[in-house]
Amino acid sequence: MILSFSIWIPILFGLIILFYGSEKPTAGVRWLALVGSVLGFIATLPLVIEFDIANPGMQFVEKMSWIPRYDINYHLGVDGISVWFIVLTAFINVLVVVAAWEVIDKKVSQYMASFLILSGLMIGVFAALDALLFYVFFEATLIPMYIIIGVWGGHNRIYAAFKFFLYTLLGSLLTLIAMLYLYNVTNTFDILAWHNARLDIVEQVLLFFAFFMAFAVKVPMWPLHTWLPDVHVEAPTGGSIVLAAIMLKLGAYGFLRFSLPIAPDASQFLGPFIIFLSLVAVIYVGAVALVQKDMKKLVAYSSVAHMGFVTLGFFLFSPLGIEGGIVQMISHGFVAGAMFLSIGVLYDRMHTRQIADYGGVVHRMPAFTAFAVLMAMANCGLPATSGFVGEFMVILAAVDYDFVIGILAATALILSAAYSLWMVKRVFFGAITNAHVEELKDLNAREYFMMAVLSICVIGMGVYPKPVTDIIHPAVINLLQHVAVSKL
């Protein structure tokens, strides 16, 4: 029942808040949201504590008949790959609620409810073992996110909301057809049974592309990434945090759960193609990030580049590469979350995100600058931060796969260092450039708390990643066994 609690506690609280709702900002709504998110987070903790490392299969399994007509079940379970994302989702949700505390003052109840429901749905995606259940959760996340962007977003929010919705819907509808096809071949929607389905190479390639559409858009991979910067720029801080920290991971997770094990031959066959796309994301999009004038856009492009690292790791088909990709995903959750939070902190004070409007922030906000610099360092993969661990593993695996690819992947470190540090230099250091910066006030207790918690996670994972990788490892080995065995 732990998984059900993790999914439904936030959704239930979200609904209560929605009906409790009032137009005026009230403390009650905020506290209720906080209680809901914290309870939701606590509900996920037993997953990690009681996780059996020796067992590479699915744990905490729940199964109930849902739509017997198509043999669709309410089937939940986690392995080492998904468990961390569930905890991460619940954790980020708490931060989002806290981050919105004083900042959001219109339609507070709808805002909080959207995020709580979204969090439950995303946990559902990570926990679903039934393909249709996965799909329902995957699609349902669009509704709250659409509303979040459209209601609380910036000036161009409606364009961004539409772009987000239609891009992702296009991808996932093709995936639905792939799922129905697999259902007709296997007579079940059980994802694990699909891993053993026999498919010829043509079927595999077509299925691979159908799944690829959904997941590549969500990750997003170059050249399907164009929605992300637009959406990030318009989304409210909380929306950006959730988008970067969790939602992008849904796509990458889909690759691991569907594409690789269901179509292993096609994956091997198309691996070089995906690696090529990933390298373009890492290098080209990294270079694009360099010239951004808007901080949020810069971090958004940096997200695309970092997610390129993740897909690169996956399609090297080595334990190190895949584990590196997963670690990178978790780390990116913390780091990108923290960076968007930092931009939010600045935006709340100055109401601008243009790099040129800042300068010398360190003189007025020393504590904030310390945290922000730490996150920038983590973003460029400095050792002893979580960013280093994943990138290092992926680069190592890439060198092992092909030296040239390794070298190309490693350029990411240079590029990310360039854009992160250059931004830090222009925003935080140097002389105070204008009167608005002069009036800045340092972090309040609430903001300090959030940055501190994220910093602890970033450094903790950077210094001692073993607990995380220990849980991931058996599941990845298990996954690779499916990928290694040809279905032809």
């Binding site: 849902w66 799909y135 349902a140 239609l166 819907l169 509808l173 639905l176 259902y183």
Partner: protein, 501 residues
């Protein structure tokens, strides 16, 4: 006539007798303007006389629903010398169309009163149209089918023209009448060819003869073209769809709901009876026709809907596209799963339609119809709950989980993939993606736009109607999360009907 025959047609008889009695009684109802407009009215509190008719109609409809639900487990029977058949599918569809008319009447009461067309004749016409639907759904003979079709159509022509001083309504009524008559003509022509070839009007008899290799196939195929065209007119699918947007827009919203909801069930029954039950051996001829109609409807319906600024027109084009989906379900080779998926689709579509038009009526008030998409601007700011209802309806029409529209589309797509029409499934999916755009735009207008000052209207409609609308929305959501029950009912009804025929 045997006692057994009487039992089979009892609900229809009751409906006919009560409708006639109410018609007579309504002669004595004085013409009266409604009570003070804008004042909250509870459900039975209406001008005397009309209230009486209304009250009895509600009771009648509730009785009919219960009667059909109670008959759901009955086996298929053919009564009245093979003119009439009662089977599980017809009982299910009739119960649903009764429900749809009942809900339509409750939603539209305030709307009609505000426009001074809440008159006994309105209610009686609606009941007679319902009777036509019953006959159509249960027709076991080409003649009964045709009679049912006309009985359903004639009262609706009159209903569309109810606002006889409104130019648009009259224009729509004339258009509807002429095109409807044309469609009936097509259908009748096709039927006469069928009769000429097979020598019978009886569906079962025709079924037996059609498969006979000695029958002239060419004439039959020719007749089939006319029958399918007539059906396409009635269903409102491309390229026979031209009347749909004009009638939807021109008719008073209450009448639009009467046309958009329950008749779809009857049209589906007609489709099923004629094509699957009767002309199954000609499948190779009618399936390609349906395929073209379905694909055209999906593509043209969805693309044209994007350009609409009037929400009733937009919903009309959306209906065209949705009917395309229903047709897709009929493309499988004699498969009860596929047909039951279509049944599920139609029923849930009607439920969603009731909700969407119901919302439009409650947002209308005296002197102002909620008709353009702009009228919904900022609804979330004024009435968050009603905006939420609108959101659920739109996402359901777009087929986004966890609403029932998704479960319905899932069934159809599954049937397509199962029937090895995977390419068609992809086309359908891309068409729905295009469709998602205009449904999303409605949500956008409700949630993201600022309300216009002149639209700060209150929600009209009695507390009961509002409650029912809320229930409607909750049902759309709940059936999306737990579709298994209704799916099983549809499959069971379809399976036993196919076995029985």
């Amino acid at each position: 006539m045997q006692a057994f025959d009487l039992y089979a047609i009892l609900p229809e008889l009751v409906l006919l007798v009560v409708a006639c009695l109410l018609l007579v009684a309504s002669v004595y109802v004085p013409e009266r303007q409604p009570a003070t407009p804008g004042v909250e009215q509870d459900i039975f509190h209406t001008p005397r006389g009309v209230g009486f008719v209304y009250f009895f109609t509600i009771i009648l409809l509730v009785y009919l629903i219960l009667a059909f639900v109670a008959r759901m487990d009955d086996v298929s029977v053919v009564a009245m010398n093979g003119l009439f058949q009662s089977d599980p599918l017809s009982n299910l569809l009739k119960a649903c169309s009764c429900g749809a008319v009942l809900i339509s009447l409750i939603y539209s009461k305030q709307y009609l009163m505000d426009r001074a067309i809440f008159r006994p004749d309105f209610i009686v016409l609606a009941l007679l149209a319902l009777l036509g639907q019953f006959v159509l759904i249960s027709g076991a003979n080409l003649l009964t089918l045709y009679l049912g079709l006309e009985l359903m159509a004639l009262p609706t022509y009159a209903l569309v023209a109810m606002r006889h001083n409104n130019e648009k309504s009259v224009e729509a009524a004339i258009k509807y009448f002429i095109l409807g008559a044309l469609a009936s003509g097509f259908l009748l022509y096709g039927m006469s060819m069928l009769y000429g070839v097979t020598g019978s009007l009886d569906l079962i008899e025709i079924f037996r003869t059609v498969a006979d290799p000695r029958v002239n196939h060419l004439v039959m195929a020719f007749g089939l073209v006319f029958i399918v065209s007539g059906l396409a007119f009635k269903l409102g699918v491309v390229p026979f769809h031209m009347w749909v947007p004009d009638v939807y827009q021109g008719a008073p919203t209450a009448v639009t709901l009467m046309i958009a909801a329950a008749p779809k069930l009857a049209a589906f029954a007609l489709l099923f009876r004629l094509l699957v039950n009767t002309l199954l051996p000609l499948m190779g001829d009618w399936q390609p026709m349906l395929l073209i109609l379905a694909v055209l409807s999906l593509v043209i319906g969805n693309i044209t809907a994007i350009a609409q600024t009037n929400i009733k027109r937009m919903l009309a084009y959306s209906a065209i596209a949705q009917m395309g989906f229903v047709l897709l379900g009929m493309l499988s080779v004699f498969d009860d799963h596929a047909y039951s998926a279509s049944t599920f689709y139609v029923i849930t579509y009607v439920l969603t339609t009731l909700g969407s038009f119901g919302l439009l009526m409650m947002l209308s008030r005296k002197g102002h119809d909620c008709e353009t998409i702009d009228d919904l601007k900022g609804l979330n700011k004024r009435h968050p709950w009603f905006a939420f209802i609108g959101l659920v309806m739109m996402f359901s029409l777009a087929g986004i989980p966890p609403t029932v529209g998704f479960a319905a589309k899932l069934g159809i797509l599954e049937a397509l993939v199962d029937g090895e029409h995977t390419f068609l499934a992809v086309v359908a999916v891309i068409a729905s993606l295009i469709g998602a755009f205009y449904y999303l735009r409605v949500v956008k207008v409700m949630y993201f736009d600022e309300p216009k000052a002149e639209h700060a209207a209150e929600i009209s409609g009695s507390g009961f109607a509002r409650g029912l609308l809320s229930l409607n929305a909750i049902l759309v959501l709940a059936l999306g999360i737990f579709p298994a029950g209704l799916m099983a009912v549809c499959l069971d009804a379809m399976r036993r009907t196919l076995l029985g025929s």
